[in-house]
């Protein structure tokens, strides 16, 4: 995706790609659709050996990136995962690793990072709520002081693969602001309600916290001081999600282009008709533009958590969240009836692209974020316009 990868990064990409192409044919992904977990814990270990969980963790904490730019390195993995519609919470696990590496206490880092980096521990990020905002302002789950520390009340929505997670990173509202807590998924008072998932390679759940007891030492970062960290986590999550979507789109586009050359109608390949040639040329423009936006969002996240990272994460989300589904829908259209069948792999990609567009803040959410950044404050963004 990034046309200017270093030699080390290319090697990293090639190793990941080779593993995924040989070990993760679509038949294996399909085989997990009806699996109770929908996910292969054995593969997690192999991913860890390939470095999938170490990129956002510094070397002194047992991690290490390829180039020093961990988000860009991880975006390389995300793109390859998208190409095979890889199941499981690789992205949210990395978001939790990032939070622990940058905000966690040394005790938390020592207790959890080796397991996450080594692939023994799966963590996921519980950020969204019923209001579907995915940012700090949307956090309503309350952490109220208790004898032992805090008590969590509220429900997190659309938590990815919560049913297989060992740890949950929970964003909560405390008396003076936002806080994050690391909670074992088995803690008393947690109820995981599985959702039906558009993406067949990925499970979502609503997670209810009914007076879940946490201690002050479970807080990741300062109590009341998590706003900046949550913003950074969202920017990184969107950058990685963008790379994953682009990987899926790239595979889908190649598949569709090959079909347009191969499939004949009226005595000639359907890809020789201008109606399709022009469509495919536009799709190529959107795809290349999506790649450029995803790469820029990852670079910006590596450079720091300033205005540039906010801007590029939301620009990538708005663009890829709109054009990505359009490309995928056009790919189905060009395939004709065969693209509408369960047995064709196309819908597995389409589902991932459509689901990614919705999660981590819809394009409209990110439009509102950009509107605010551009100084358009005619209506307070988010006020009275929640779309639940």
């Amino acid at each position: 995706m990034d046309l200017a990868l270093s030699e080390d990064q290319q090697f990293f990409r090639d190793t990941t790609r080779k593993y995924l192409l040989s070990e993760w044919p679509m038949s294996r992904v399909r085989g997990l659709i009806d699996d109770p977990l929908g996910f292969d814990r054995g593969a997690w270990q192999q991913g860890a050996e390939l470095g999938w969980f170490s990129m956002l963790v510094p070397e002194e904490l047992g991690g290490g990136s390829v180039s020093g730019a961990g988000v860009s390195d991880l975006a390389i993995v995300a793109e390859e995962l998208g190409r095979v519609v890889f199941p499981g919470p690789v992205l949210p696990t990395n978001v939790v690793a990032l939070a622990l590496a940058t905000e966690g206490s040394s005790a938390q880092q020592a207790a959890h990072l080796p397991g996450i980096v080594g692939g023994e521990v799966i963590a996921t990020w519980a950020i969204a709520e019923a209001n579907d905002r995915w940012d700090g302002a949307g956090v309503g789950l309350e952490a109220t002081p208790s004898a032992g520390g805090f008590r969590l009340h509220g429900t997190k929505h659309f938590v990815q693969d919560a049913h297989v997670a060992d740890l949950l990173l929970v964003a909560a509202r405390t008396a003076g602001g936002l806080s994050q807590f690391l909670v074992p998924a088995t803690a008393a008072g947690i109820t995981i309600e599985p959702l039906q998932s558009l993406d067949l390679g990925r499970r979502l759940a609503n997670v209810a916290f009914d007076g879940v007891e946490v201690s002050a030492t479970d807080a990741v970062g300062d109590i009341d001081g998590a706003e900046e960290a949550i913003r950074r986590q969202l920017n990184v999550a969107v950058a990685l999600q963008s790379a994953e979507t682009v990987g899926a789109l790239d595979a889908l586009f190649d598949m569709t282009l090959a079909y347009a050359k191969d499939r004949k109608a009226f005595g000639r390949p359907i890809g020789s008709f201008q109606a399709l040639k022009h469509r495919l040329a536009d799709m190529l423009l959107w795809l290349e533009s999506s790649k450029a936006a995803a790469v820029a969002a990852a670079h910006a996240a590596d450079a720091g958590n300033g205005a540039a990272s906010d801007e590029l994460a939301s620009v990538a989300k708005c663009y890829i969240g709109e054009r990505g589904p359009e490309i995928a829908r056009d790919c189905l259209q060009i395939h004709g009836g065969i693209g509408f069948t369960w047995e064709h792999d196309l819908h597995l990609y389409l589902r991932r692209v459509e689901a990614n567009a919705a999660l981590y803040g819809s394009p409209d959410r990110h439009r509102d974020r950009l509107a605010t950044a551009l100084g358009m404050t005619g209506v307070a963004v988010g006020e009275g316009r929640d779309r639940g």
Binding site: K261, R268, Q274, H278, D282, L285, C318, A371, R385
Partner: protein
């Protein structure tokens, strides 16, 4: 934002360019809402305007900011397209009048570098870069623009010269120009791509008659040209005889690559003027309006990123050289979307205004319609991309293998 993430070398270059521009070129005039005032539509045909433009281009050249990616031996700077982009971004705030030389330098100067003889390059390229010679292209003809290889203008050999007869059209800025790159047909008994020869044509030659064409936006930057028994030395041929399609195609590739590089910069204009317009019209509190403006901002920002990606990819060889046109397709569509949104936000004021009042949004709407036509229509460019990059088959074209004198034409 752009310079927040760039390398130290480019950042230093940017600061040097910024300092030089501030000290040597007057800033562009701004309107009340902070946007730049566009030059008067007739200004570019005004000799006094052009004389100042030439002086400023000479200053840019002498300071080492002209022909940034051109080879040093022909007066260029031998630097990267990223350096060129940085300078273009910085000069956007200054009245360099560089639009007068855009085509001349970046398309035609570059074409001479690629296809010219050593003598042609030494003789012309430094003068093109310094603004002493302004060049234009004679591509379209009244019988067809998209079907470029179907040209009817004829060149006939006569000793050491050729004699050219025919008609060209849609040539931008012919009145102010000194030389044209002019493809002609030199053989009629072979298929259309095999009988073309390209000439460097001195526009002061006897028999060249230029007539401005009035456009829908009131301007007249286009001309039609009548060529009657125009004599050109054989040494002015660019490329080989009857092999001119290679030059014409190469020119188009250079044009598309340039349009790609430039569209990214042109996109960096921002949406402040649209926000100001929506605010003035009392529409800025409307979430729908906000989102439309944001969409344009997103499209512009991504277009600029895509232009950089594709330019760098084509330069390094990571991407096929045929990618250029899709950047132009995207840039042209954004240009039109921007004008359409401005006109829509302006409301009835875009339909009726007092004499002397600002008519920019209606004017911009009209002007923007040429974006998807000039320099290759979006439809032809989509064909080019789908064939060259995606490898899709051509539509059946009955004229490709026929000798040209047997091909039906207008």
């Amino acid at each position: 934002m752009a310079d927040e993430l760039e390398s130290a070398e480019l950042h230093t270059y940017r600061e040097r360019a910024r300092a030089w521009l501030a000290a040597n070129i007057p800033p562009r005039a701004r309107l009340d809402d902070g946007s730049y005032e566009e030059p008067d539509l007739m200004a570019e045909s005004d000799p006094a305007y052009i004389a100042v433009a030439r002086e400023r281009q000479a200053a840019v050249f002498d300071a080492g900011f002209a022909g940034i990616p051109f080879p040093v031996e022909y007066g260029g700077q031998g630097l990267s397209y990223d350096h060129e982009r940085v300078f273009l971004e910085e000069q956007a705030a200054y009245d360099t009048r560089s639009q007068v030389f855009m085509v001349s330098i970046n398309i035609l100067g570059a074409t001479v570098v690629e296809f010219g003889t050593e003598e042609q390059k030494k003789r012309h390229v430094p003068k093109i870069l310094r603004g002493e010679e302004i060049w234009l292209q004679f591509l379209s003809e009244p019988s067809g623009g998209s079907d470029l290889a179907g040209m009817l203008t004829r060149a006939t050999r006569d000793g050491d010269t050729y004699v050219i007869n025919g008609q060209k059209t849609w040539s931008t800025g012919a009145q102010r120009s000194d030389f044209a790159i002019c493809p002609t047909r030199t053989r009629w008994d072979v298929p259309k791509h095999k009988g073309i020869s390209v000439f460097i044509l001195d526009l002061r030659s006897p028999g060249v008659d230029l007539r401005p064409i009035k456009q829908i936006n009131g301007g007249a930057e286009f001309c039609e040209e009548f060529l009657t028994d125009v004599v050109v030395p054989a040494s002015n041929m660019l490329g080989d005889e009857n092999e001119g399609w290679r030059v014409a195609r190469g020119l188009l590739n250079i044009e598309h690559a340039w349009q790609g590089r430039n569209s990214g910069v042109a996109e960096a204009v921002g949406v402040d003027d649209l926000i100001a317009l929506a605010t003035e019209r009392g529409l800025i509190g409307d979430v729908g309006v906000q989102r439309k403006i944001v969409d344009l901002h997103v499209a512009s920002h991504v277009q600029s990123l895509a232009a950089q990606r594709i330019t760098n990819g084509m330069t390094s060889g990571a991407l096929h050289h045929g990618y250029g046109p899709i950047v132009k397709v995207g840039g042209a569509l954004n240009r039109q979307r921007r004008a359409e949104l401005g006109k829509s936000l302006a409301g009835s004021v875009a339909a009726g205004w007092r004499p002397g009042d600002e008519d920019r949004w209606s004017r911009d709407l009209l002007s923007s319609r040429s974006a998807t036509l000039a320099g290759g229509s979006n439809e032809v460019l989509r064909n080019n991309v789908s064939e060259q990059v995606l490898g899709l088959p051509r539509e059946a074209s009955p004229d490709r293998e026929l000798p040209f004198n047997q091909v039906p034409h207008n």
